[in-house]
Amino acid sequence: EADIYQTPRYLVIGTGKKITLECSQTMGHDKMYWYQQDPGMELHLIHYSYGVNSTEKGDLSSESTVSRIRTEHFPLTLESARPSHTSQYLCASSTGTTYGYTFGSGTRLTVV
């Protein structure tokens, strides 16, 4: 079944630790995105990729980085986590300008 997977679902980590949030999709979509969502708020785009070896920053400034070495895989990394990084991170993929925008279940990150 075609889908988009995020791991871990929940993560509590100490300040200063390096973390990687995983995102994989089985739909063969070229376009992938990371959104950040604080509790009770709207989503903001922090990174996107239009294909392998293509990554760009989104509208919301973020200290995280991303990579796209394979079409299906779009991990997000925080080199040194801080409490201000506490949020939900949602990965998505799409077919492009038409229908087919799919979100993963998200990672709820808490930095203590």
């Binding site: 376009k31 995105y33 709207e42 996107y48 509208d59 949602l90 300008t97 925008y101 979100f103 998200g106």
Partner: protein, 109 residues
């Protein structure tokens, strides 16, 4: 940049009631989508509707692009409809969505 505003911010309904959610946007857009975020945080794509009207079961949506608004109709609401409804627009065809602040719907049994 483009502004997306949703109303009302909160809505409480009795099961079986109907409702209309509104999304206004400040500039021309190429893509407008409605999403439902359930209480567990999962976002589900409801409609891709840059213009016109679509229906899917008890849900329907209408976008009037020339007047820069979209409406989401929920009929005969059920408790499982509870959650947050987001409108999102893509103004440059790159798939980069700008989200409204959402309408939080609570359907009581």
């Amino acid at each position: 940049g483009i502004q997306v505003e949703q109303s009302p911010p909160d809505l409480i309904l009795q099961e079986g009631a109907n409702s209309t959610l509104r999304c206004n946007f400040s500039d021309s857009v190429n893509n407008l989508q409605w999403f439902h975020q359930n209480p567990w945080g999962q976002l589900i794509n409801l409609f891709y509707i840059p213009s016109g009207t679509k229906q899917n079961g008890r849900l329907s949506a209408t976008t009037v692009a020339t007047e820069r608004y979209s409406l989401l109709y929920i009929s005969s609401s059920q408790t499982t409809d509870s959650g947050v409804y987001f409108c999102a627009v893509d103004y440059n065809q790159g798939g980069k969505l700008i989200f409204g602040q959402g309408t939080e719907l609570s359907v009581k049994p």
